[in-house]
């Protein structure tokens, strides 16, 4: 499957695709350089540029759609970026169905969340800067998906990392926010190293980093190279998408404002890993890449389970959603790991997930907005009556997520589960089983959320928030509710529409969707899934719905719960393996540098000085000792001379 051949030079509408990057970038630049002057209209400019980008994206989409399938991959050369002899990295864009899909997702959800933020951030004195960062993010994310080489992708890749760093650390007056931001950036960098090394390997073996060249040549490479590249790319994907073993940063990232969590840490950025693997489908589809694909599937499966388990134990509204995100991305990674059978499904789930997870987050934001930023679900409850719109939209998102029949999750997730069963041999059973189990757990923890937040008694009534205010829950304003409604609609209908169109549309980018026929056919799988989900939900009801819940989390709990509350000890592991040894090593090296290396230097100096101080004592001032030293010297010299001559 050679995708390179068809790439033709972009022209017409596509010729202006650079606008997609420039519009939000300009917005960001103006807002950042303009300073306080732009406070009044900053948020409008920010949102405006993104909406403009969205509009252009839509036009571009239909323009491309009008082309015949094989003509839908366009290449836009913007300028020569890094060019040294044999290394030639052009700054170019690749406009094809895959990137366009993401463009629409990013700019679409992006626009909604910009609008939402206008209301959400209304009382922040730096709202302008917030919008600047959001624009920066959108621009970088678009570069990530539009770039036509792995280096441009890397550019966007780290660009979104920076944006997410800035936004997670938005409340930088608070230490935990700053730390969370730093953690996110560092763990991403670990992934980036993998990506970078993959790029180096490509240059070494193929001599280029442009998609078309690489994909054209990769087939000729040895298994070792292909697998290495595949796994290194996966490492990058794990960093960005919060996959095992680099998942720990994503929950902490919830320290940022809720719109950020919705846009970056649910809908778009964290799915970049899925994009990367789907984009590299020509590589992963190779027969040499078998092992790489297997590793991808394992990572996906492991992550989705971890995500679910931890999600069941958390009491923080947003963190539960975050772990839900982790596990859902696990599904996507699992899907793209399946190869040709899964790329399209992964992307499909990515899109639907983008809708409902963004909606869920916005709902959470709206709840916290009305509840003095209270995020502990044990202090919430019975909010359904207080904020009906939020409740309804959130519930729709919830149903979509747990795969309620004919909502979007039902089409995307079930398809992935079915495809997982489709993997040949025992793998099918294993991965299918895991995916199925995940569905049950998902239903469980989401239902728990629903109950604890919206149903049951209002536990907050006789409580006060940290800043000592009483809670007066209220529905949010239109700028916040409208995006929620739109997303809700999307999460209801999205799956039904997309599942039909997407595979065909993506074909030019990821190849056609291979129908796999596992031991269980599709209907059986979906019945199973729905059944398991219902069971999960029922259990949740049984535990949380009927009994009154304490306001503080119970401490005497079984080991599994404790483990889950401790992120299954993921952070402890990082602590033990990296941070603490790192600190020790640093202390040790500082010591070595001061005492050892520099000590040696100063030691030599001191040694010279000391010996000098001692030797000068030989200059006693007595003539006779001088004469003695002369005589000694003379004897030595003469003896030496005679020895040289005669010995």
């Amino acid at each position: 499957m050679n995708l390179a051949a068809e790439a033709h030079q972009a022209s017409g509408v596509a010729g202006a695709a650079w606008l997609l990057l420039v519009l939000p970038a300009v917005g960001a630049a103006v807002l950042l350089l303009g300073g306080r002057r732009t406070d009044k209209w900053g948020h409008l400019l920010g949102s405006g540029t993104v909406i403009a980008a969205f509009v252009y994206g839509v036009i571009l989409f239909f323009d491309t759609k009008s082309l015949p399938a094989e003509g839908r991959v366009a290449n836009l050369h913007v300028f020569d970026w890094i060019s040294v002899n044999s290394l030639d990295v052009e700054f170019g864009l690749r406009i094809d169905p895959l990137s366009l899909t993401f463009v629409l997702l990013i700019t679409g959800v992006g626009s909604l969340i910009h609008i939402y933020s206008i209301g959400y951030m209304s009382d922040d004195r730096d709202r302008r800067r917030f919008f600047a960062y959001l624009n920066l993010f959108v621009s970088a994310m678009l570069l990530l998906v539009l770039g036509n080489s792995f280096v441009t992708l890397y550019f966007g890749w780290e660009g979104v990392g920076l944006a997410s760093y800035l936004l997670i650390g938005w409340y930088q007056g608070k230490n935990f926010a700053a730390t969370a931001a730093k953690k996110a950036f560092l763990m991403n960098r670990v992934g980036d190293v993998g990506l970078a090394l993959a790029i180096f390997l490509m240059f070494k073996n193929i001599g280029s980093t442009q998609y078309d060249v690489v994909f054209a040549e990769i087939g000729k490479q040895s298994t070792g190279v292909v697998v290495a590249i595949g796994i290194l790319l996966l490492l990058g994907a794990c960093g960005k998408s919060g996959q095992f073993p680099l998942q720990a940063w994503l929950p902490d990232a919830m320290a940022g404002p809720t719109p950020v969590s919705a846009l970056i840490h649910a809908a778009t950025m964290v799915t970049a890993g899925v994009y990367l693997i789907a984009r590299s489908s020509p590589l992963y589809s190779l027969p040499q890449a078998e092992d790489a694909r297997f590793v991808v599937m394992i990572i996906g499966a492991v992550t989705l389970v971890i995500g679910c388990i931890i999600g069941c134990a958390y009491d923080d509204f947003k963190k539960v959603l975050a772990y839900s995100t982790v596990s859902q991305i696990g599904y996507m990674i699992l899907a793209v790991g399946l190869g040709p059978a899964g790329y399209a499904l992964g992307i499909l789930h990515l899109l639907t997930h983008g809708f409902f997870k963004a909606g869920l987050f916005l709902g959470a934001g709206s709840v916290m907005h009305g509840m003095n930023d209270e995020g502990d679900i044990r202090r919430l409850g019975g909010l359904a009556r207080k904020m009906p719109i939020t409740f309804v939209t959130w519930t729709l998102g919830y149903l979509a997520l747990i795969g309620f029949p004919f909502l979007s999750g039902y089409f995307s997730k079930d398809a992935i589960i079915a495809a997982a069963f489709g993997a040949h041999g025992t793998r099918g059973w294993v991965f299918g089983g895991i995916a199925l189990l995940g569905a049950g757990l998902t239903a469980f923890y989401m239902t728990r959320l629903l109950i604890l937040v919206f149903l049951g008694k209002p536990r907050w009534e006789n409580l006060k928030s940290e800043d000592g205010r009483a809670y007066h829950p209220h529905e949010s304003g239109p700028t916040m509710t409208i995006p929620m409604i739109i997303l809700a609609v999307g999460s209801v209908a999205g799956g039904a529409i997309l599942s039909g169109l997407l595979p065909a549309w993506l074909e030019p980018s990821v190849g056609e969707l291979v129908e796999t026929h596992g031991p269980l056919n599709h209907t059986v799988v979906s019945i199973l899934t729905v059944g398991i989900s219902l069971i999960g939900a029922a259990i949740a009801f049984a535990i949380f719905g009927r009994r009154e819940q304490p306001v503080t989390r119970p401490q005497r709990v079984s080991f599994p719960v404790r483990a889950a509350r401790a992120d299954l000890y993921g952070n402890h592991l990082n602590e033990a393996l990296f941070s603490r040894p790192g600190v020790w090593l640093t202390r040790f090296l500082v010591f070595v540098d001061n005492r050892g290396v520099d000590g040696l230097v100063n030691g030599i100096a001191a040694g010279l000085g000391g010996s000098s101080g001692r030797l000068r004592r030989l200059q006693t001032g007595f003539v006779r000792s001088y004469a003695l030293s002369m005589l000694g010297g003379s004897i030595l010299v003469i003896a030496a001379l005679l020895m040289v001559r005669f010995a």
């Binding site: 970026w81 890094i82 040294v84 044999s86 920076l162 931001a181 730093k182 070494k204 500082v590 540098d593």
Partner: protein
């Protein structure tokens, strides 16, 4: 003899700062006029540098704008200068940095009895000498300037520096001087060798390259080591680096910029201009040694940076890590890595230069160099915070900043020839993020804290923003400071997005160097491969 109009440009480049130094020193009675004069001269110098860049023909001769006079006929020593692509860009960077340094030091308080005139005079003198070092094409002349260069710097550190300035100045001088003397042995060795070959000794670089570079390996290795030690001290490679933290910590900010941004580059420049072309065999033979030192430098410098309590020492160790990358690129022997190293030299001057200047502005506000004395400063000085972050991002070589181009080139170019070293060095990327964000968090983020910002009692004092409890009115960047940082900021972004102008100038020289060093690219592109004549 001279060749073309360029020669006059180069001559002017050498003379203007010299004259400037004399004039400014003469004017030291009146600080204000002295400052203005210094600024004027440095700006003229910068204009000249640009002009000589424009005049330079990338696809032209190996050495351009050349001129030469006899100096000591008895030894065939000439005063001959010329520039190639590498020297050209370095001279341009010097031209850029000096006005900014002068601008940054505009309002600094000098120690008792020191004058701005003397200070800026020395800086201009240093500039003239460094330009000379980069442009010299006579090895003897190069050595002479290489050593002379120490003296103004010695006085800059020793007379205008901090508490332990004497120790730092002497340490700096002795380290470099010893290195230089060892190099002298090799210089003489080459001269003698040329004498045996040609009957009459010469110091002309081009001739020496021809003569020395097919000498027996054993000889080459000794000569190589002589040069190498001198250069390794200058561009501090672990374990010869310990003078840099002291020097940087004690030097005034502007001087620290010159030290790290320009002086140290002489070492890496020497690798490129002298080691590779003159001792190809030895370079290949000893490359593993240098690579090991380079990689150690990357990791070691990064880790130590995170372990520092003093901001200026932190900067020194950051640079040590960066010099590790540069050395790695040079001794990985591919045109990409070499080009990467050269651009790294420039970008490091710009990025770290900016970082140092910004830190200097932090220090001038807080009055302390200890990291622990700061915290949450972003609330008080958002613009300053942004500048620190941007400079930091550039020195962790984030894509979109100038440093990314060079680090990427170094690594991708080094990978084919030295995969293991490259992989280890890539870990440095993570550590770089670690130390930059560590510093930013400590100084800028979190609640406002630290003796430098809040009264030692910790209680909130009178402040521009009392609700933040800052001790004294800590103002954000003023116009002068913004003006100083703006050009660097611009370059960081511009060169990050569009490095072509620099690459086009550097690459031909790098290719020529590759040819002289008898190296071939590990990754050759089918159509255009550089031709050696």
């Amino acid at each position: 003899m001279t060749s073309g109009t360029g020669s006059w440009l180069l001559a002017a480049l050498l003379l203007v700062p010299l004259v400037g130094a004399a004039v400014v020193t003469a004017l030291r009675g009146n600080d204000h006029t002295a400052k203005l004069a210094a600024l004027a001269f440095s700006v003229v110098e910068f204009a000249l540098a640009i002009a000589s860049w424009v005049n330079f023909k990338p696809d032209g001769a190996r050495l351009q704008q050349a001129f030469s006079f006899d100096w000591i006929p008895a030894f065939g020593v000439h005063i001959s200068f010329a520039v190639d692509g590498i020297a050209l860009v370095m001279i341009a960077v010097i031209g850029l940095l000096v006005p900014l340094v002068i601008g940054a030091g505009w309002a600094d308080k000098l120690p008792e009895g020191r004058t701005k005139g003397g200070f800026f005079g020395l800086i201009l003198l240093e500039q003239a000498l460094t330009v000379g070092v980069f442009a010299a094409t006579d090895v003897f002349l190069f050595y002479v300037l290489f050593e002379i260069m120490l003296i103004p710097m010695y006085f800059l550190i020793g007379s205008y520096g901090g508490a332990r300035r004497q120790y730092a100045a002497v340490k700096f001088f002795l380290y470099s001087f010893l290195g230089g003397l060892i190099m002298l042995a090799s210089v003489i060795g080459c001269y003698v060798m040329a004498g045996d070959e040609l009957g009459k000794g010469t110091f002309d670089w081009a001739t020496l390259v021809r003569v020395v570079h097919d000498a027996p390996l054993g000889t080459q290795i000794w000569l190589f080591l002589g040069f190498f030690i001198a250069f390794a001290v200058k561009a501090p490679l672990v374990p010869l680096h310990t003078w840099l933290p002291d020097a940087t910590a004690e030097a005034p900010i502007g001087v620290a910029v010159l030290l790290v941004g320009i002086l140290d580059k002489v070492g890496t420049f020497g690798f490129l201009r002298y080691l590779l072309p003159m001792f190809p065999a030895a370079s290949k033979e000893l490359a593993p040694l240098v690579l090991v030192l380079a990689v150690i430098g990357v990791i070691y410098g990064s880790l130590l940076a995170t372990g520092q309590r003093d901001m200026k020492r932190f900067l020194a160790y950051v640079s040590i890590a960066h010099f590790g990358f540069i050395a790695l690129g040079i001794f990985a022997f591919s045109s990409q890595s070499l080009t990467g190293s050269v651009t790294y030299m420039i970008n490091h001057s710009i990025a770290t230069g900016m970082l140092i200047l910004v830190v200097g502005m932090v220090i001038s506000r807080g009055g302390s160099t200890r990291v622990a004395d700061y915290g949450g400063m972003a609330k008080l000085t958002p613009v300053l915070a942004a500048m620190l972050l941007i400079a930091g991002l550039s020195s962790m070589s984030l894509p979109g900043t100038n440093s990314f181009i060079s680090e990427f080139l170094v690594l991708i170019g080094s990978f084919p020839n030295a995969p293991v070293y490259t992989i280890i060095a890539t870990v440095g990327m993570v550590l770089a993020a670690l130390y930059v964000l560590w510093l930013y968090q400590r100084i800028m983020q979190g609640p406002v804290r630290g003796d430098a910002l809040i009264g030692a009692g910790g209680g909130p004092g009178t402040a521009i923003a009392p609700e933040l409890g800052a001790k004294k009115a800590i103002a954000d960047l003023n116009t002068r400071e913004k003006a100083v940082l703006a050009p660097l900021l611009l370059l960081i972004v511009a060169l990050g997005l569009f490095p072509k102008p620099v690459l086009d100038v550097v690459t031909p020289t790098v290719n020529a160097t590759m040819c002289e060093a008898q190296l071939v690219d590990p990754v050759q592109s089918a159509e255009e491969r550089p031709q050696c004549q």
